[in-house]
Amino acid sequence: MENSKIDELMLSCMEIEKLADVSLDYDFIMDTISLIDDDILDEFRYTKEFKLFNFYVNIQKFSKTKHIEKYAIGLVNNNQENIIRYDNVPHHNENKKVQEKNPPHHKHIGIDENVVGFSGSIEEMQLGLDEILKKL
């Protein structure tokens, strides 16, 4: 995820759309991205409700060159359980399992405490989300 730009992330989200049976709101997403590009907005938050889960992308911090610096992307099921979440919030950096693999990026599986280190590329996140979606 590090060094990625928001448009790359949205291309990845299109893959999520293929697996689910609902369209993402591209006009809305592109309008929001344009506000970020124009320096009107410095944050991106998108939530989409699908039949079996909610998909979200939250980007809280961009660099001056609009690269993603702080993010969370994941799925919440209809029982309000975090199915999977990728983020680089630093609160788990002291976790040994996270330290073993390229901190501070990590993924949560199910609950906050179940955290593993994560290399952080969009492609890898995509694979992880795909795997979970196929099981739903």
Partner: protein, 67 residues
């Protein structure tokens, strides 16, 4: 579409999405969230911070729109 229109649409959407973030934290209103915030924080760091961050996002858009 003007930037004001885009921001207005974003605010409408963000307010609607707030209900989802509240439901992820197992509450139905902002008041209930603040009343139960200590319990929610203990249960899940992210369920707590996601709501706080979403509320801040709404405030930020409202400020941009002069509300």
């Amino acid at each position: 579409m003007s930037q004001i229109d885009k921001l207005t649409n974003l605010l409408i959407r963000a307010k609607k999405d707030l209900n989802k973030w509240l439901s992820f934290a197992n509450v139905t209103s902002v008041d209930e969230f603040y009343k139960k915030q200590d319990i929610i924080k203990k249960q899940s760091y992210h369920k707590y911070t996601d709501v706080i961050e979403h509320l801040n996002f709404i405030k930020k858009i409202e400020l941009k729109l002069g509300k």
